[in-house]
C-alpha cells in the first residue's frame, strides 16, 4: 500500500498537461455521446462517475451506481478506453441499463485534430456484469460511426451504429441500431453546456431475481435525453453533471449523473489544453515554418562541452554592467551562471561609442544533489504550488541524464546580453521602423537564433524628456511594439518568449538638457535574459 501511495505521490509531483474530456463510457466526447475527438498520444484520463436514477418499469424502482472509466491516447488519431460499470458493487447496474464492462477503441479517419469537421469509427465490446446468471458474462459488440462538427463555441455530434447482442440462453435478442446526437456550447472558456439524445431500436432489458423461475425480458425502443454541463476546474480536472429522462417504455423516469475526470500527460508528451479543454490545438505549424528557435537552455551537455563561445558581438551590442542587471525569479532547476562580461565594441552608425573589450568570464556550477534533498525539495515545491506560490520561469532541461541540484534554488534572472538601438530606428515622434531600424533588428535576430542561452527577450522603449510623461510612455511602448512585431513576424521569434515595456523618460542614460544627450536617451534596448545564480 505504501508503494502505491509513493507511486501516486510521484504522479502528483509531476503534473503535465493533457486533454480532458472523456465521457462516462471512457470514450472522448460529451457525457454520453461520443465525439470524433480522440485523446492525444501519451495522455491518459480516468473518470469516476455516480449515477442515480428511478425507473418505475422495474421491480427495483431506483438505482445508484458508480462507473469508472479510463482512456488512453495511443496515436494522434487513435484512443482506447474502458469502463467498469459499478464500483459500489450493490447490484444496481442491471436496472441502470449500464451493467457492462466496456472495452473500446476509436479511430478518427477524417479530419485533423484541429479540423472543424471530423469523422471517427468507434468499436466497442461490452461484457455484461449482472446478478442474473443468464446475462452475466454475455458480450455485446457494437460499431458506431461518429461525426462531429465544431464551429467557434458550438459543436454538434451525431453517431449511428449497430449493436450485435451476445447469446443469452433461452432468449432471442434482436440486433439493435443505435443512435446518438449531442450539442455543446461553450458559454465561457471553462464551462460548456451539453444537450444529448441517445436512442436504440431494440433496447434489451433483462431483469432477474433469484426467487424468480425465469428472468423477465423486455425488448423495447429507447430514447433518452439529457441536459448537462462540463466545468473545467483546471486543465487536469473536469466536473461533469447532467439530468435526463427516458421516453421509451422501459427507460428510466429520471437519471442524474455526476462525474469527475482527470487527465495527465505521461511519458514525454506534453500538450496544453487549449483554453480549457474545448478542442485540442494542432501543432503550430506556422511557428515551425518560421525558423524555429530551438532553445536548449542549460543542461549537463554544457558541462561536457568546452566553455561556450558566444557569437560575434553585434555592433549594437553593449557592455553589461556586472551585478547590476538582475531580476528575481524562481526557476525550477538549479543552474548557476556567473554574470556575463559581454565584450563589446559598439559603434553605432550615428553615435560612435567606444567600449573596451573585456574578457568573457563564465563559469557553470552544478552541485551534485543528494537523494533526500531532492525528495524534500520536491515535496516543498509541491506544497508551495498547492498553496498558491508558484515558480516562475521554468528551465527545461533536456538530456539523457540530467541531475538537477535542488539544494539552492536560483531566484534571479540576469541580463546576459544587451543591444542598444539609437533613435535612427524611428523617425522623430514616430513609431514606424525605418529601413535602417529593420536592418538593425535583423542583425539582432541573427544573434537570437545563434545564441542558445537566453530564456526570454525583453524589449524596452525609451524616450527623452520632450513631451509629457504620459505621451512618452505611449511613444516608447509603441516603439517597443514595432520592434517586437518585426522580430516576431519577420524573423520568426517566438512571441511567447518576448516581453515588451515602454519605459518613457524614466531611465535616461544621458542629460536631457543637450541635444546629444536627448538623442542618446531616445533609444530601444533589447535584453537577453538568462537565469542567474541565487545570491
Amino acid at each position: 500500500m505504501s508503494n502505491l501511495i509513493i507511486a501516486l505521490m510521484v504522479v502528483c509531483l509531476t503534473p503535465l498537461w493533457a486533454i480532458a474530456n472523456p465521457g462516462q463510457s471512457g470514450s472522448s466526447g460529451l457525457l454520453t455521446v461520443s465525439t470524433a475527438e480522440t485523446l492525444d498520444a501519451g495522455n491518459i484520463c480516468v473518470g469516476a462517475w455516480s449515477c442515480y436514477g428511478q425507473n418505475s418499469s422495474f421491480s427495483q424502482k431506483s438505482f445508484l451506481i458508480m462507473p469508472v472509466s479510463i482512456t488512453m491516447g495511443i496515436g494522434t488519431f487513435w484512443e482506447v478506453y474502458g469502463a467498469y460499470p459499478n464500483i459500489f458493487f450493490n447490484g444496481d447496474e442491471d436496472v441502470s441499463g449500464r451493467g457492462t464492462l466496456d472495452l473500446g477503441t476509436k479511430l478518427r479517419f477524417l479530419g485533423g485534430r484541429a479540423s472543424d469537421f471530423k469523422m471517427a469509427v468507434d468499436l466497442l465490446g461490452q461484457r455484461h456484469i449482472s446478478e442474473s446468471r443468464k446475462l452475466d458474462g454475455v458480450t455485446d459488440y457494437s460499431a458506431k460511426l461518429v461525426t462531429s462538427y465544431n464551429r467557434n463555441d458550438f459543436g454538434i455530434h451525431v453517431t449511428a451504429g449497430y449493436l450485435k447482442p451476445g447469446d443469452v440462453t433461452g432468449i432471442t435478442i434482436e440486433p439493435e441500431f443505435i443512435f446518438g446526437a449531442g450539442v455543446e456550447y461553450a458559454v465561457i472558456p471553462r464551462l460548456k453546456l451539453l444537450g444529448e439524445v441517445t436512442a436504440g431500436t431494440n433496447r434489451a432489458y433483462l431483469e432477474d431475481n433469484r426467487e424468480w423461475p425465469t428472468p423477465r425480458f423486455f425488448s423495447e425502443y429507447s430514447v433518452e435525453a439529457s441536459f448537462g454541463a462540463q466545468y473545467f476546474l483546471s486543465p487536469h480536472i473536469t466536473l461533469n453533471t447532467s439530468i435526463g429522462t427516458g421516453f421509451g417504455a422501459k427507460d428510466p423516469d429520471i437519471k442524474f449523473l455526476f462525474g469527475i475526470s482527470s487527465c495527465q500527460g505521461v511519458g514525454t508528451y506534453v500538450k496544453p489544453i487549449p483554453t480549457v479543454g474545448r478542442r485540442a490545438a494542432a501543432k503550430d505549424k506556422t511557428k515551425e515554418a518560421l525558423k524555429p528557435l530551438k532553445i536548449i537552455p542549460i543542461s549537463t551537455l554544457l558541462l561536457k562541452a568546452a566553455a561556450p563561445q558566444s557569437a560575434p558581438v553585434s555592433k549594437h551590442e553593449v557592455e553589461i554592467e556586472a551585478e547590476q542587471e538582475e531580476i528575481q525569479i524562481k526557476p525550477y532547476g538549479q543552474v548557476v551562471i556567473a554574470p556575463q562580461q559581454a565584450s563589446s565594441n559598439l559603434t553605432s552608425p550615428v553615435i560612435p561609442v567606444e567600449i573596451p573589450l573585456k574578457a568573457r568570464d563564465e563559469e557553470i556550477i552544478l552541485k551534485s544533489p543528494k537523494t533526500e534533498d531532492r525528495e524534500s525539495s520536491a515535496v516543498e515545491y509541491t506544497m508551495k504550488r498547492i498553496s498558491g506560490v508558484t515558480q516562475l520561469y521554468r528551465v527545461d532541461v533536456k538530456g539523457p541524464h540530467v541531475p538537477l541540484p535542488v539544494d539552492v534554488i536560483p531566484e534571479k534572472m540576469t541580463v546576459y546580453r544587451k543591444f542598444l538601438f539609437p533613435d535612427v530606428m524611428f523617425d522623430f515622434d514616430q513609431w514606424t521602423l525605418s529601413p535602417v531600424g529593420k536592418k538593425m533588428l535583423s542583425e539582432v535576430a541573427e544573434k537570437i537564433r545563434k545564441d542558445k542561452k537566453w530564456l526570454y527577450i525583453k524589449i524596452d522603449g525609451h524616450t527623452d524628456t520632450i513631451g509629457s510623461k504620459s505621451y512618452n510612455m505611449d511613444l516608447s511602448l509603441k516603439r517597443s511594439i514595432a520592434a517586437a512585431s518585426y522580430l516576431i513576424s519577420h524573423e520568426g521569434v517566438d512571441p511567447a518568449k518576448v516581453f515588451i515595456e515602454g519605459r518613457g523618460q524614466s531611465s535616461p542614460i544621458a542629460e536631457n538638457d543637450t541635444a546629444v544627450g536627448r538623442r542618446n536617451n531616445r533609444r530601444t534596448e533589447i535584453l537577453f535574459l538568462v537565469a542567474k545564480e541565487a545570491q
Binding site: 469516476a48 469508472v68 501543432k283 498547492i386 512571441p495 515595456e501 515602454g502
Partner: protein, 149 residues
C-alpha cells in the same frame, strides 16, 4: 475486505488527482505565477465589459509592490507571421496598460507579451494579468553607456 481495499485505492487516487489538478491549475503556459484575472475579449474588441473586469482587479493591483512585475498577456488565434495581427495584439494589450496607468494611476512594472495560438483554435482571445514575484527593479538600475561625470 477486498472491496474496502479497492475503495481505499480509489479514494487515494481521487485525492491525488484533486491535489494534482489544483496544483497545476495555478500554472500558466508561461510558467508564471499568480494569475489575477483572465478576461475574454470577444471578437478582439475591448468593450465596457472588458474594462469592468479589469476594474475589479485594480484594488489588488494597487496592493502589489512596485518591486514586482505584472505580466499582461494577450492570447489570440492568428498567425505570427502576419505583422498586422501581431501589432494589433500588442496595441490591444497596450490599451489596457494605458488604461491602468492613466485611468487608475497605477505605477506598475508591466511587461506585455502575446501568445499566438493556431488560427484553427476558435476560442475567443483572452487578456491575462498575472504577477511575477520578487524584486526585479534592479533591472531598472541598468545603465547602458552611463554618462560620464
Amino acid at each position: 475486505m477486498k472491496s474496502v481495499i479497492s475503495m481505499n485505492i480509489i479514494v487515494t487516487g481521487l485525492v491525488v488527482m484533486l491535489l494534482n489538478g489544483y496544483a497545476a491549475a495555478a500554472e500558466t503556459t508561461l510558467d508564471a505565477t499568480r494569475t489575477l484575472v483572465v478576461v475574454p475579449v470577444k471578437n478582439g474588441n475591448i468593450d465596457q465589459k472588458v474594462y469592468r473586469q479589469i476594474d475589479r482587479v485594480v484594488p489588488e493591483l494597487k496592493t502589489i509592490s512596485n518591486k514586482k512585475i505584472v505580466k499582461l498577456e494577450y492570447s489570440f488565434s492568428g498567425q505570427p507571421d502576419r505583422k498586422q495581427e501581431v501589432e494589433n495584439a500588442y496595441h490591444l494589450a497596450a490599451r489596457i496598460e494605458k488604461y491602468l496607468r492613466v485611468r487608475h494611476n497605477l505605477d506598475l512594472a508591466l511587461w506585455i507579451t502575446i501568445d499566438v495560438r493556431p488560427k484553427s483554435v476558435k476560442t475567443p482571445p483572452v487578456l491575462t494579468l498575472a504577477v511575477f514575484s520578487d524584486d526585479i527593479k534592479k533591472l531598472d538600475a541598468v545603465l547602458i553607456n552611463p554618462p560620464k561625470n
